[in-house]
Symmetry: C2
Subunit: 572 residues, 2 copies
């Protein structure tokens, strides 16, 4: 491609709206352009990158035996009502009505449509397993779209759906997809980790996220320093403590804590270590009107996903209202505790072996010191109520946990029979008996990968692409292309030679100053740059620089194409 026949539009400064490096760089390099909140145009330079990601994803999906199709974006409410998701899905689901006032949605995922297709196509176990995928524009009406295409409302996703006659077959395909995802992210040159994850609104049992490691990531990953264990912090389990409980050394004493409403203020006021305090969270129970008290150490972070799964706790997790709390505890939030509370009490594992706690006294502006489980209130049920922290023992039993931030770029789910059961996707087994199918689903955020890769690969000069994802693999920057005939001839010849080798090369023939061309090539992150100037050319040389190298080297113009081709093959 010649730049004069393409469209390059770079900015010196990123618009103020951009926070993340990837968002700033995508705007500055002209990869995307904002249309409205969470809606972007992929400009020519950006689309080339997205298409390269798409091509790798397609190749690896095909290699893994998935078959490509294309489902519609606008989907009828009836199917979503059948699965139950029409009610369950919140405002993220963009709902719309057609001219006949029939309800539709703009699909965020396609479990319903694919299940509808498969239940009408499949009669016998002989037709299973099946694994379909498509690459399609999706919409999720995020409350707060941000970070450019990282959390956009409209985005391109590859989603695959597999159907099986039994769980073993699902597990096999799940593993195949897991392996394909690893190949995809390896080929794209991303530093990532597959991590165990919660299944969220998609439903089902097992699930892994593929997280690209980046400080700006919205997700936190916990991983073992001594094994392969990795999980989303939402999911990583904390373990019960071993050993004996510390002996009580204090008696229960009520202390006045006027206007003390937070743990930080309490610790400050009483001059006690935060690890000696307990905080109380009150949620609604499963039974109408019942409240459940959750206790955890003042310094620990409450995990609502874990809490929601406890017996007797209402799902989705619902915080108790002020009036109900006042009625049950005789006090307001900020001074609550288990002493005298009649309902069900869960305490976090980390509190089981401690003694002499500071805790709310169920009387406004009062706390207890010297609170001990069993002595001052009944023994609670100990459970996992908190997020893991760095240094916690790994739940795999080996090593301790470290934390890292990640950007979720892929997610695989064992849906099991959630959709197949609701939508009656059945088949006849070997004995002619009707059975419900097993199902898996597998997503990759094509457009998000572009942002994630930049987040992980950039420097003060701009983006640093891998050969696989770069919009162009090589850029030829001629000095004075429009004035020097020898430079023009050499540049044109080299361009033709690289094209003949099948190299994706950009000849930057724009009528701009040398500084602009060089800066743009770095901002755009083209991995291999060849600068052609009159002086070196007299000695048959050009200047070659890898985007990741700190300086350029002189290479004979006759040798540079072969050298680049060799570098590209070596990198594959």
């Amino acid at each position: 491609m010649k730049a004069s026949q393409f469209f390059i539009s770079t900015l010196k400064e990123a618009p103020a709206e951009a926070e993340l490096p990837s968002h700033k760089l995508m705007l500055r390099a002209g990869l995307i352009k904002r249309v409205a909140s969470g809606l972007y145009t992929w400009m020519p330079m950006g689309l080339r990158v997205a298409r390269k990601v798409e091509a790798v994803v397609r190749e690896e999906m095909n290699r893994a035996g998935a078959v490509e199709m294309l489902m519609p974006i606008v989907q009828p409410a009836e199917l979503w009502q059948e699965s139950g998701r029409w009610e369950f899905y919140g405002k993220e689901l963009l709902r719309l009505q057609d001219r006949h006032e029939r309800d539709f949605c703009f699909a965020p995922t396609c479990e319903e449509v694919i299940t509808d297709i498969v239940r009408s196509e499949v009669r016998s176990y002989k037709q299973l397993p099946l694994n379909f995928y498509h690459i399609q524009t999706k919409f999720r009406d995020e409350v707060r779209p941000r970070f450019g295409v990282m959390r956009a409302r409209e985005f391109v996703m590859k989603d695959a759906y597999s159907f099986h006659s039994d769980y073993d077959s699902l597990k096999q395909t799940y593993q195949d997809m897991y392996d394909a995802y690893c190949r995809i992210f390896d080929r794209l040159g991303l530093d990532y980790r597959p991590v165990a994850a919660d299944t969220g609104s998609i439903g089902g049992t097992g699930s892994h996220e593929f997280q690209v490691l980046a400080d700006s990531g919205e997700d936190i990953i916990a991983y073992s320093d001594a094994s392969d264990y990795a999980a989303n912090v939402e999911l990583a389990a904390t373990l019960p403590l071993s050993g004996q409980r510390a002996a009580a050394t204090q008696s229960l004493a009520k202390v006045a804590t006027p206007n003390i409403k937070t743990i930080a203020a309490l610790v400050d006021f009483l001059a006690v270590p935060i690890t000696q305090t307990l905080k109380s969270i009150v949620v609604e129970g499963e039974a109408e009107g019942e409240l459940v008290l959750l206790l955890l150490r003042g310094d620990h972070q409450f995990n609502d996903i874990k809490a929601e799964k406890l017996p007797g706790v209402k799902a989705p997790l619902t915080m108790a209202g002020a009036a109900a709390i006042q009625a049950a505890f005789g006090a307001n939030g900020g001074s609550l505790g288990p002493v005298g509370f009649k309902g069900r009490v869960y305490a976090d594992f980390a509190t089981e072996k401690g003694a002499d706690w500071v805790i709310g006294a169920n009387e406004d502006d009062c706390h207890y010191t010297g609170f001990n489980f069993g002595r001052d209130a009944a023994e609670p049920t100990f459970a996992d109520l908190r997020n893991v922290e760095a240094g916690d023992p790994s739940p795999c039993g080996s090593g301790s946990l470290k934390l890292a931030r990640g950007i979720e770029v892929g997610h695989v789910f064992q849906l099991r029979q959630k959709y197949a059961e609701a939508m009656k996707a059945t088949f006849l087994d070997q004995n002619g008996k009707s059975q419900i199918m097993e199902m898996g689903c597998y997503g990759i955020g094509i457009t998000r990968i572009v942002a994630a890769a930049i987040e992980q690969n950039n420097d003060e000069r701009g983006i640093v692409w891998t050969d696989t994802m770069a919009p162009f693999t090589v850029v030829i920057v001629p000095m004075n292309y429009r004035k020097s005939d020898t430079v023009k001839a050499a540049a044109d010849d080299l361009y033709a030679a690289l094209q003949a080798l099948g190299v994706d090369v950009l000849l930057d023939d724009r009528d701009e100053r040398a500084g602009v061309l060089l800066n743009d090539s770095e901002l755009l992150g083209i991995p291999h740059r060849i600068v052609i100037g009159d002086r070196a050319l007299k000695e048959g040389m050009v200047e070659y620089q890898n985007r990741r190298a700190s300086s350029a080297e002189n290479v004979a113009i006759d040798a540079v194409a072969a050298q680049i081709q060799a570098a590209l093959h070596a990198g594959q």
Copy 2:
């Protein structure tokens, strides 16, 4: 691709909902599957065809210098309000609100978004011309979606938009796009005609449609039998007649025509030739409360697009209401005419030279015979009010017109400054003066092409693809693949050989009866079929049949791959 790793699902009978051959065949061959009215899933077999069309379109757009990008599907109302289309577009525009109750639409075309981008990117005439395109899912909320993907609500379109500093530059790019479209439809092997067309709701001046000729087409094309002239029948002009008007031979006489409301009934009742009757159409005038009378020959077809453009006629064309007609004419529809009418009267060119007309008498249940222009009412303004008919002189001045039906698969427009003016897309010219850009737009219905091609290429056995569009170019049909080791070995070897030659080959290794495999290969329309059976194999032969040939021929198995490759190259 091996069929066992793909997904083939054919039907013996088409569902009753399908009317057109293409719709029936696409459902029977499993190319598409209905999700809801006008919404289809592209099944794996169908998607392969759509992707092949897309690839040809992309290649030719790139070759013609257009640059690919990708605009969002969901677009903010503000931009559409700026162009005026938010108000102007009817219910075909799918409107929706996001969670914050802001208005958006699901884009049917993208003039607004691209104009917004270009006005922010372009400052100087030096940056022009520009020509961007994208291939994207569109939505038009058709009143009556029908014929499968031929008139679906959701469909894939390639749309391109060019921007220019002057009209000459627009005309140049318009011609480049016109030529690129011809190359695209030539390569796809379609029998098509570029025809002059109306610009409709898109607006602008010049426009051509690309019509695939097919009896089932919804459009009618008029073309000259002696020149290249072709136009949509909506647009093709009729010419004023030459020569003298016939002399009046009858005097005006009122006749009772009780309950005669239609031309057909009138002709029958009075036993006059229909060509001697005039029909009256009353529309609203530009001025409030004014009515305009339009007269044309009883046998001619009224053309509302032409009528709407007449001076003094309200656009969009609005039929007069019954009360207004009664007030102005003193009679109801069915007995109207110009005698005594005070308003503006247009009569079709074809009536100018006639005499002694039968026409409504402006008195219910009465008509006049012997009506003559100039004598019985003032001379009207003669104008082009009707559709052309076969045999009319061609408006190009050469030959006479023939009519054919067509399916619109492409449309190019000279938009001129319609959008650029409304949205203030300006640039600085060579004198530093701000000017409004010129603009063109260019669409191709990717998914509709698939249906149009089938409409034009099918027989009683199924679809007949060209090599370019076929989901697979070659199919190998082994007889007893799962039982005969020699057949399996020969089929596998041939499959590998064809793949090595880069041929897109399907090995139908399904465990089905020979009849099923052979019928499916014909229904699916694969252009080249190789049948491998034990008997012929003993003599080193296989059976080759071109889908368009009436019988098969025996070919040496060692020669068949080379023979097919030669045929494919010859066809390119």
